[in-house]
């Protein structure tokens, strides 16, 4: 150990490394590149993972949507192809019968599934926006950030079927003057006046949300569009510890029995499971992390082998010098230790430079993608991974250094001196 901390040792090492500077630098670049690839790739993978997390953070990760379609099997005397209509009562049945369900929000919309969107008019300005009929519980499943001063639809709105609405950022921009406070103002939705109670900030949450969405109370929606007890689809959130796939199945089975659909009929109800999608996406990010690990280590290995190769050449070139050293009293151990230390020193220096370069590049990419609609944020490489990579390099550097070191020792001092 004293050997490593001895300034003389380092003088010796710098002396011999510095002898062929260009070659040393080129060799170092090999390992530097490896660790750089490793850091940049795994940081980018982490950044993507974080980005996806951010995309999904507004949505309960164990949530799903269920909607009705047409039957594909005859049952109890009903014909094939019968359209099924979800009803408001279904929500109560589902909530009561399936205990894993935490929240269920019946929803309706105009403008998404082929029908005409609502026409919104304010003074001389007008536009077409999707209009949703919603319950307050909806925000428990999908977070809606409401601008200062505003609010989302509340229970009283539902009870009294108030003509209030929450508009989107884009709606605000397009219908109101710049700097104008929309809350308290009135807009016309399909010729009915609604008071704006809030503006929601758009955040990508999967599905068909947009920054122009207008939310009105479910009870007002059914009066406005005469939709009765019909429900477009259910947004459902299961408890955190529930298996969403199983809940999805039970919801569909229950709906089939309520709506007298063949239990075998797979087409009658559609569903979309965010938990599953999220799992897939985060699996992708994990795969990417793993890939970067493999690629990084392979590249580091290639670089380290390059160092070993160069040290072999350098030992060959220094045969005579090593012979002189041994004639002057260098023990085989000292000769071996010096070459291994050269190898480790080169590897670790290259590694540290690669880590710094990788961190710089990650920061640059992060800054460049900050304002883009790209799921990428806060790319980091965990410290244990970095230390692990350095440790691997020390180990590899030692192992690869053993080869030239052994070569150096195996040269007899007399043969080394004789070589001209």
């Amino acid at each position: 150990m004293r050997f490593i901390f001895d300034t003389n040792t380092w003088q010796e090492i710098f002396g011999s490394i510095g002898k062929n500077r260009t070659r040393t630098i080129i060799t170092v670049i090999g390992v530097l590149w490896g660790i750089f690839i490793y850091i940049a790739l795994s940081g980018a993978a982490k950044g993507m993972d974080n980005g996806f997390e951010e995309v999904f953070e507004n949505v309960a990760k164990n949530s799903m949507f269920v909607w009705a379609q047409n039957t594909s099997m005859p049952y109890e005397g009903f014909r094939t192809g019968r359209p099924i209509q979800l009803k408001l009562e279904d929500a109560t049945s589902i909530k009561n019968r399936i205990p894993e369900i935490q929240y269920i929000a019946p929803r309706n919309v105009r403008g998404v599934f082929g029908d005409a969107p609502g026409t919104i008019v304010r003074g001389q300005k007008f536009g077409s926006y999707n209009v949703y009929g919603d319950f307050p519980v909806f925000t428990k499943i999908t977070t809606k950030k409401i601008y200062d001063g505003g609010r989302f639809i509340n229970d009283a709105d539902i009870e009294q079927a108030r003509k209030v609405c929450v508009i989107g950022e884009r709606t605000e921009k397009e219908l109101f003057e710049k700097g104008e406070m929309p809350i308290g103002k009135f807009i016309r939705i399909d010729n009915v006046f609604f008071q704006v109670v809030g503006v929601h900030k758009f955040s990508q949450g999967g599905g068909f949300d947009s920054d122009g969405d207008i939310f009105i109370p479910f009870s007002t929606y059914r009066k406005l569009y005469n939709s009765g007890n019909n429900v477009g689809w259910f947004s459902i959130a299961a408890y955190d510890d529930a298996d969403v796939l199983k809940v999805e199945e039970s919801v569909k089975t229950l709906l089939k029995s309520i709506h007298r659909v063949n239990p075998e009929d797979e087409r009658a109800f559609g569903s979309f499971n965010l938990g599953e999608i999220f799992g897939r996406v985060s699996g992708f990010a994990k795969g990417l992390t793993f890939l970067s690990l493999v690629v990084g280590i392979a590249t580091i290995l290639a670089g380290v082998i390059g160092i070993g190769n160069i040290l072999l050449i350098s030992v060959k070139e220094r045969t005579k010098e090593i012979g002189v050293r041994r004639a002057l009293g260098a023990t085989p151990r000292e000769v071996r230790a010096q070459i291994i230390l050269e190898s480790v020193f080169l590897t670790v220096t290259a590694g540290i430079m690669g880590i710094i370069l990788g961190a710089v590049v990650l920061t640059i990419i992060n800054n460049a993608t900050q304002d883009l609609d790209f799921p990428y944020s806060n790319p980091t490489v965990p410290i244990p991974y970095v230390i692990g990579a350095l440790a691997i390099m020390v180990i590899l550097g030692t192992l690869i250094g053993l080869i030239p070191a052994q070569r150096a020792v195996s040269i007899k001092p007399i043969d080394a001196l004789r070589e001209e």
Binding site: T7, N8, E12, G15, S16, G18, K19, K320, E321, G323, V324, R325, R326, A327, L328, G329, A330, T331, P332, R333, E334, V409, K412, P413, I414, L417, E420
Partner: protein
């Protein structure tokens, strides 16, 4: 100081065996300056290598300063070389990316001498060979004679019991050769034991004893009156 009895050494060259040293009996007293002479192939360099523990003997015995040299592993041999022997080579063998002072202090490094002391000693020995002002220069900036003097300083720095010189003047012109020999004589005058392998008679005459080797045996071993090299040096 050196005691060699019935020394044999042979090399295998493919299927042939080359018997290089065929029973050498030889001893050197403290403070001697011995020239080993012989034509090429006479075994003089092999003898020096065995004396320098760079090569191992096949048969016979070798005692250096009362220590029997046999069954040495590389580590032990390295330590003995470091402690007992100083080497001077025909081609100087200075490490070309180290300055004169660093070259001189190298054996001290392997003796685990501290940095400051190493530097002091290196300067002291460089001063002895008259190259103190050249301490910071690289070997490539020195002339042949200067290089050999640095090499001698390096050999002396470890304060060895015996100085072994393999054709120390082989690569030098005669004027520089005499300067180097003058230096070697002065070191010998100070009481150091020195062995020189050479094939130049005028260099051999500057020693105190000449050993002639031919075909692996000593054919002549005579004490002579030393020719001082200083008379050729201005």
């Amino acid at each position: 100081m050196i005691e060699i009895k019935d020394l044999h050494k042979s090399y295998k060259m493919g299927s042939n065996t080359l018997h290089v040293l065929k029973g050498i009996n030889f001893s050197v007293e403290d403070g001697e300056l011995v020239a080993i002479m012989g034509s090429s192939g006479s075994g003089k360099s092999t003898l020096l290598n065995i004396l320098g523990m760079l090569d191992v003997l096949d048969e016979g015995s070798y005692t250096l300063d009362g220590v029997p040299i046999k069954n040495m592993n590389e580590t032990k041999a390295a330590q003995y070389r470091n402690k007992f022997l100083g080497f001077v080579f025909q081609s100087f063998n200075l490490i070309n990316y180290k300055t004169a002072a660093e070259n001189v202090s190298l054996p001290l490094y392997y003796q685990k001498v501290g940095r400051r002391e190493r530097q002091e000693k290196a300067l002291k020995y460089l001063e002895q060979v008259g190259l103190k002002e050249w301490a910071g220069h690289l070997p490539s900036e020195l002339s042949g004679g200067q290089k050999q003097r640095v090499a001698i300083a390096r050999a002396m720095a470890a304060e060895p019991k015996v100085l072994l010189a393999d054709e120390p003047t082989g690569a030098l012109d005669s004027k520089t050769s005499y300067e180097v020999m003058d230096l070697i004589q002065k070191i010998n005058d100070a009481g150091n034991t020195i062995l020189i392998v050479t094939h130049e008679p005028d260099i051999a005459k500057m020693c105190k004893r000449i050993v002639h080797l031919k075909d692996g045996v000593i054919i002549e071993d005579e004490k002579i009156t030393q020719v001082r090299a200083s008379q050729y040096v201005q």
